[in-house]
């Protein structure tokens, strides 16, 4: 009962690391059980097939990520009453979190799964999609709250800005790994943070006529 959950957790941990390093298709059950120190029968006692392992990995990853976001948004709100300030704090905390990982971010399971979609059934894909939507919703809510206090610059859809943050994180992870530099992700989150600051700062053109050279840059 108790020990079963432990073994299950160990399997998931080992499998996740393997999936993020080699992909789901190349992750062999034999390898996982060898590292976990159990037999094949033991594995199939916990997961009836590889697809159920995938689903469990997915759910575990989403839960963990939700916890992190809960925490970091909560702390942001604690440290300031101003919605813009607290979101900026949240972003800063996230950047620190990502930068402090010893060997860089281990990778986003959602990203690996969307790039191996044909390996999973519809339920797994739907779980992933709804998780992504929920995270995007979080960011969008934070932005909307800010926009109710600070009018945003024109020409930017806040829904797109919210999604862009997810893009920057997933893209940042890929860039960090691809370039072999774990700090890229942290810098990207901070760059997005600067973008948010910029987005809610009034433009010169909102107040006075632009100088000649900015007329070219405008719409």
């Amino acid at each position: 009962m108790r020990k079963g959950a432990e073994t299950r957790e160990r399997i998931l941990e080992i499998a996740e690391a393997s999936v993020l390093a080699k992909g789901f298709g190349a992750t062999s059950i034999e390898e996982v059980i060898a590292e976990a120190g159990i037999t094949k029968s033991g594995f199939f006692y916990h997961f009836k097939d590889k697809n159920e392992l995938a689903r469990a990995l997915m759910l575990r990853y989403i839960e963990e990520n939700d916890r992190i976001f809960d925490d970091v948004f909560h702390r942001g709100r604690q440290l300031s009453d101003d919605p813009l300030q607290s979101f900026l704090i949240t972003l800063k905390l996230l950047a620190e979190l990502m930068g402090d990982l010893p060997n860089g971010h281990p990778g986003c399971l959602i990203a690996t799964f969307t790039y191996q979609e044909r390996l999973f059934d519809r339920t797994v894909r739907d779980i992933a999609a709804s998780a992504v939507r929920s995270w995007n919703g979080r960011f969008r809510d934070a932005l909307n709250e800010i926009a109710s206090v600070y009018p945003a610059r024109k020409g930017m859809d806040l829904d797109d800005v919210a999604i862009m943050f997810s893009c920057v994180i997933d893209g940042g992870i890929i860039m960090s790994r691809g370039l072999g530099d774990p700090r890229v992700l942290e810098r990207q989150i901070l760059a997005f943070r600067s973008f948010v600051k910029m987005l809610f700062a009034p433009a010169a053109s909102d107040i006075m006529l632009p100088p000649a050279h900015t007329a070219v840059a405008a719409e």
Copy 2:
């Protein structure tokens, strides 16, 4: 000679689609040769092993992508002498290109490879890294050129902004796939475009003292 290149190309095309849908590890040679209508011996005549297939896929993808960037940057420069304008045009063209794909962007091979790095030898990973660096360099050069005419807003490193574009593309592809909405990628590129416009437009704080509520948002 001629026919060999054709077959090779057909193999690469089929393999690429499979890799983007299932991952490299889950792409079976048997499946590829079945679809290509050749035998296993035929396959190993062209590629001595799976790793060589990976390398060929990589090089082909980079070449194709370089061609696209060459074209779209060239057309941007043709349509305006102003570096900011021509980059904005380039981004618009790219967004259109990505939006016009019938079933959405097929996926970024670099992204799949970085998420399956343990499957490839160092040469393949180095090729990918240098390609990414080269693309980031293109964006950074374009931004630097703009910055020499239009002073950029403070607090943003242009290197980071350049990398952010790569992040937005790769992240946008993941979001498009994960959410099942091909238009997300196009919208993300356009959102980044708005960001660039904002970046080179003067802020109110550069000209006059900010109103009370923006003082909170500042550094």
